[in-house]
Amino acid sequence: MTACVRGAVLKMIKRTTLVDSRTSVTDVKFAPKHMGLMLTTCSADGVVRIYEAPDVMNLSQWSLQHEISCKLSCSCISWNPSSSRTHSPMIAVGSDDNVNVGGKVQIYEYNENTRKYGKAETLATVTDPVHDIAFAPNLGRSFHVLAVATKDVRIFKLLPLRKELSSSSGPTKFEIQTVAQFENHNSQVWRVSWNITSTLLASSGDDGCVRLWKANYMDNWKCTGILKGDGSPVNGTSNQIFNSPLGSANQTIQNSLNGASAGRYFFPPLDPPRAGSRWSSYAQLLPPPTLIEQTCDADSVNSQLPHPRRRYTTQPENEWV
């Protein structure tokens, strides 16, 4: 097996096989770096396993540290990446079970006293099968943000409630807010992914589109882009996009308007037909040659695109330019 890292081809060598699961392993994630070299798997029989490699120089040794039984067949896990000492290690587990009713997202927290993971919360509002789950990079926040891919995209905020002195041994309680819920995919949502500063959430669904979500300073989440795999426009505003792509005028406007990620986010009211015109993507697919041909055509229309990879960009709306 090989992997490519920044142009260098690395040869991957199998160091170990983790054989504890008796059923399909549905997800595997490394724990946040500050916890050491740990690995979590979840499997269809509802067991989450946490392994640790005590010696990072010897990757053939992974000891099974914890086995958490979730009672529901698991489909995805996510570590809370927070490195704060006030946040104990936390895992969110999503289930694709469609037999039982009830919450499909469970949150487990490490308890220092019992040295075990215990269930802290169940997101009762998520009752449909969950396909993917992702904690946002924490970056020094006091609360946690969790994105869930189920039949729609949901974003939750988990605010740790202050521990009472008496119940300090129990799991942390959270106030759970549903920050956003989007059904724009009109289909099952399969993946969610945060960017590294947790300012942008991407989701993909059976409609073949990637949608980008962003919050403004009021914590209102809005769709800021729709990306289609083949670079075709999403909502039928094709001519406009392909004829005026990445225009230099647009570019400069954009630059001058641009703040940091912490800067301003202004979202003009987003009516659906407009959505396609705000984000567009160009260029070609990597694997299938047929598509490369196709996008070569697109390039001839749009000669400004020598770059081999696809770009997505915004076109600022007129009303606030």
Partner: protein, 824 residues
Amino acid sequence: MPSSNDGWSFSATAQVQRHRSTSTECGYIMCFNNSATAGTKMEKMARVTTSLGSNTISGCTMFCHLDAPANAISVCRDAAQVVVAGRNIFKIYALEEEQFVEKLNLRVGRKPSLNFSCADVMWHQMDENLLATAATNGAVVTWNLGKPSRNKQDQLFTEHKRTVNKVCFHPTEVHMLLSGSQDGYMKCFDLRRKESVSTFSGQSESVRDVQFSIRDYFTFAASFENGNVQLWDIRRPDRYERMFTAHNGPVFCCDWHPEDRGWLATGGRDKMVKVWDITTNRAKEIHCVQTIASVARVKWRPERKYHLATCSMMVDHNIYVWDVRRPFIPFATFEEHKDVTTGIVWRHLHDPGFLLSGSKDSTLYQHKFKDASRPVDKANPEGLCFGLFGDLAFAAKESLISGGGDSNRKPYGSGGDRRYPIFFFKKPDLTEQFAHESSALSVFETDLESSRMDWFVETARRYLLSGKPFGELCDHNAKVAKELNRPQVSTTWTMLRIMYSDPGNLATATSISKGGSIPLMNSFNMKEIAAGGLGSESRLDRGKGEIRQDTIHLDPGNSLINNNDENEETEGSEGPADYLFGDAELEDDDLYPMEHENPTAEEAEYSLPQEAFPLRHEIVDNPSVPEHLQDKVDSPHVSGNEAEAVCLTPIKSFSLISISQPLYESHLPASFFSPVVREMLQHYAEAGDVQMAVSVLIVLGDRIRKEEHWYTSYIDLLQRFELWNVSNEVIKLSTSSAINCLNQTSTTLHINCSNCKRPMSNKGWICDRCHQCASICAVCHHVVKGLFVWCQGCSHGGHLEHIMNWLKSSSHCPAGCGHLCEYT
């Protein structure tokens, strides 16, 4: 199941040629249940021999309880009966539409002999009365169901010394039977004789499986416990034709492909199923499937070139059907058994729709393929991930991605599926579809600068965090931010400078912000005001006395602020600024209490340790703080809000500050701003810009309390971008011990003695064993405790500096060995 009837009829015709070649068959039984396929196909169908038996197979997933665990099962040629054999069971069941019906118990007699303890059983594929069993005591027994007596035992061969693992009838030669035993021998029997015809010695360990090739009349394969597979010619018992090592550890099973002459599937304890092409000179591994437990049985699926079924010997109770071309996920899974599955067999030679299995849980199952669970349905079909720099990779099935735009591309699976032979021109059965096999990966780059992470790296590299006076650091960083098109951040730096600097420097600060002429847009301003407003309501009474005083003091400033507001409104034709103040409604009355509330409100809301900033501390602080810390006391007698207003209208604000400066010197120390700044940093952090938060913290130094969590987050980010130097600087500059100690880990240095090569004790520089100093500089004769440079010619060396100096003046070795050392 009418639809699959069609399927069989067509597939049956495909078998015609094969069976013509082995024309020893009897019984031309035809099936014409489905009139649709009759007619033109009739002629071909007539030549089909065993293809479909007497009637089409139908049924459902069903099971029956056995009295004892099964070891092996085998099915009759016409697919109507199945024999189950085990240590304590030997029975024949009839397969009916919805149930198993026990037909015959072959374990008769009061004291069943060990010959009945079966390890394996096989039903003859041509003679439906003939069965063979392999007994655990080494006996090979044949059974004739046509016998009139209750005891159907026919022949008994007791030539093997240990358990017989496997018996196998020749597929076309009626009287030929082959056995493989734990004693390492394989024996071929002619059922018309009393003893074996020939014995094959593998010269190897125990034989686990023997299988006649279906299409090579003379060839059989044997698998061994040492991992080898041997191919034998039945006519040459002296030595094997070929041998190859197939697995690590025992090879438990093998199976010839029913259609492809050269393919042999093997399964072993190493949890692998391998498919070998043995037509080439060296057996070539063409497919490999990794399962989760040692493979006990492997059976090719009829009519499906790439499918095979496996069950495992321990741990795993499921039966898997694999498409060998997609080895990472089973095509289908049967999960009914509660204990290890011991025997699997496809019900009919040419029907892929039914699988029979026996298990240690004492059940016999018929699995209908349509009822199998399909793991791929549960697998996530898409992948989506952000890259470090804001690129986005998206993988999904091709049809989804190519989607509407491309009309020439056939959606996958609509006719002409290359996996199935041409006669499957009808709409393929959905249960036979594997999920899409190929995905397309697209990578999106962002043009939006705030989404791309270049600014992060640039900022991290260019920010100055220490080494200069506070004001210069702020100016520099403001400049960096401005050049990177981050006006808000830039302005924040400028403001910080204004807040914490002495008025002398202020001039430059404001001129910078003036030169920038960037319209201020402060989302944090808004937030602050909103929060302050809230606090003021709830806490108004608490600090009333103070507030009253301050209000009086601030009265002049009040009017000034009003001026500012007006200025702001006239100048601020930029939308954002307008928005800010319009929304927050800066009423004078609200303003002052709010500002003063902030410290208390802050403590409560953010649960910060009490180290914060009560006013009276400043009196103590002031004398002790060093030079430029003292300065800050002077400037910020204006409220935080004024300072912000300053930034909104930089030119005016300058005069404002210079006027008000002497008035309130003693009342509003620099720490007064800390809550505001803290809140601002908090805002930055929560909006994902922990870089700003930490950079400000570091630059402010003692002026503000630390937030350890931000440090760790920022350091983590820096390390992900491989900005090691910056990360190290941040660690060094942080005042928190928990962060500082990050640099103290893994700093152990291990030293070996240069004489005896043993590890040195950590006590000193003299080796315990050879009592010599470890590495002595040839020039100064002292121990070298750091870098030791040595000549590769004479192996003398010493301190880098000493050697360098020495070799400048002399080319000879300083140790006096006479070597002409060369220093490059």
